[in-house]
């Protein structure tokens, strides 16, 4: 627990039940669940990379929608600010302007909190948090550890709570919240593609097309099957303890291939293939037709 008694502002962090260096998802949940889209995190990382000289961290506003039990963060923008030992200055005009502009594009997004890169919550955070409390009801504070202090990029969310003795010394405490990642379907596919750029040597990847994609997907399924097979081998040879739930999944997997009689399947396959071939033929014919038309017109 870290306490800094200076005047009327204290900021604590609740003690963690586990002594692990990254006590994130196991902590108490006193508040809404925070659902983050990956685009927000990518934006934060990008604005951290573009920070001004001498700035050690970046802050910005979080936009999204509020539900009864959850807060969904869908967008964010960074706000220029200056921070020194004893004072902090945030460009509030800028924040207001940007919010107006963003509202024009997506009118359903509201300010739901703010983010800061860096590992700890400092005193300045309390001041900034107060400003944001004026903009939004119960703002959440998100920290993203871009300096990778504990060899991991910790992404934590907090909400403020009043504490202390009412009337005398009151303070603000930041309680952590559960963080979940939520994707749209198309987002997941986009993120999947980005994941694959990790493996390339210069972190670059081109976009494939046509049959290559199906080939790629098939290879991935094949890899997964080999992993499963290896596990089964180990269980059979007694090296690994058999797990009933995994066994149930395996039976599900095997029974998922539908049992169709050979002739029926042949006919289905053939009719489908015929359809596709016919469509390909028609498409080629059309292309040849318009090409001819072009050439004739130019004559």
């Amino acid at each position: 627990m870290r306490a800094q008694p200076n005047g009327s502002q204290l900021n604590f962090r609740t003690p963690s039940r586990t002594a692990a260096p990254a006590p994130d998802l196991k902590m108490a949940v006193h508040g809404p669940v925070v659902k983050i889209h990956p685009v927000v995190l990518a934006s934060i990382a990008d604005s951290y990379e573009r920070r001004n000289e001498g700035a050690s961290r970046v802050i910005g506003t979080l936009l999204g929608t509020v539900d009864k039990h959850s807060v969904e963060v869908t967008n964010c923008f960074s706000v220029p600010h200056n921070e020194s030992e004893d004072e902090v200055a945030v460009d509030m005009e800028f924040a207001k302007n940007m919010y107006e502009l963003h509202k024009k594009v997506s009118p359903t997004e509201v300010i739901i909190g703010w983010y800061a890169t860096g590992f700890d919550i400092t005193e300045h955070s309390v001041l900034i948090h107060e400003y944001y409390s004026r903009e939004a009801v119960n703002p959440i504070h998100l920290t993203v550890d871009t300096a990778l202090q504990s060899n991991k990029m910790n992404i934590r969310a907090y909400i403020s709570a009043q504490m202390g003795v009412p009337g005398k010394t009151v303070g603000v405490m930041f309680t952590p919240l559960t963080v979940k990642y939520i994707y749209y379907d198309t987002e997941r596919i986009g993120v999947g593609l980005l994941q694959r750029t990790r493996d390339a040597p210069n972190r670059a990847k081109g976009l494939t097309s046509d049959l290559c994609q199906v080939g790629g997907a098939a290879t991935r399924v094949q890899d997964m099957l080999t992993t499963v097979l290896a596990y089964i081998e180990e269980v059979l040879s007694g090296k690994v303890q058999a797990d009933n739930s995994v066994g149930r999944f395996l039976t599900d997997l095997v029974s998922k291939v539908p049992k169709i009689s050979a002739e029926d399947f042949e006919s289905m396959l053939n009719s489908n293939i015929n359809d596709l071939l016919m469509v390909t033929y028609l498409a080629n014919l059309t292309q040849a037709q318009i090409a001819l038309n072009e050439k004739l017109v130019i004559l």
């Binding site: 990382a45 990790r198 396959l269």
Partner: protein, 344 residues
Amino acid sequence: MASRKESMSTPTAPMASTSSGATLDSPVKQIQIEGLVVLKMIKHYQEEGQGTEVVQGVLLGLVVEDRLEITNCFPFPQHTEDDADFDEVQYQMEMMRSLRHVNIDHLHVGWYQSTYYGSFVSRALLDSQFSYQHAIEESVVLIYDPIKTAQGSLSLKAYRLTPKLMEICKEKDFSAEGLKKAMIGFEHMFEEVPIVIKNSHLINVLMWELEEKSTVADKHELLNLSSSNHLEKSLQLLMDRVDDMSQDIVKYNTYSRNLSKQQQQKHQYTQRRQQENAQRQTRGEPPLPEEDISKMFKPPQPPPRMDTLLIAGQINNYCQNVKEFTSQNLGKLFLAEALQGHNS
């Protein structure tokens, strides 16, 4: 700084004075996009696009040698009827000024648009891409296909206008002779630029984190066999376009028939005139005055050829998509056969 306001349905053209310093002789050979831009485009369509409406936005980045690096983007609000006094130029200026404060590249390098089943070859796109390319040499238009992406793999293509087409647009000469002179076919309208996705190291770390933390399983939509719906839709659009094309062709045919008929009529008229004049001469009467032939027979208006070109380009695009789709499906069917073969 002068700015040009183009048609209301597209983002306004960038200002001429902010174009890149050195004029490049060679056009862009490759496009490098950051992961952030991809995610933002996906999010924009997902949240704001419905059905056949397109969503648009502006791309920001910089040019490095012969590569165009796109490092950020921001969406453009759609047009609603109650926004009569909405000033697009102002929105763009304010956005870029604000982004400059946070050190985001504010160089305008192109724009993006979502598409519905690949139907994007239209006059509006041509016009706006021309204005962009005119002001900034290296600009591109990114076409993002959300429906194809939802089927399993990101569908993102970058297009530029060919220099030939740029010439034609500059002279605004869309008549048949102009196009014939330039020898433009529908294949030479747009050129596609290869795309590479590149991420910074920090984003890489983020990707590793996400993989660890997120429990969303991969759904493998790419291997889905039931996709005849998509095929039907594409073919429907293709048929509509072919109908348009055939109408155009009929118009052109009637025009050329009218033209030849008129030529014949003119010819006949001059002949008759000459005959009459000869007769009058023999009878000693003054010849009839020569009338202005062109005023009598007004030449019919040649139909514009640009639309036909666009339709042809669009049909070509649809056919390409359909072929890609069928090849993928054939592969999937053979996979299913292999799986079934083992079972029985």
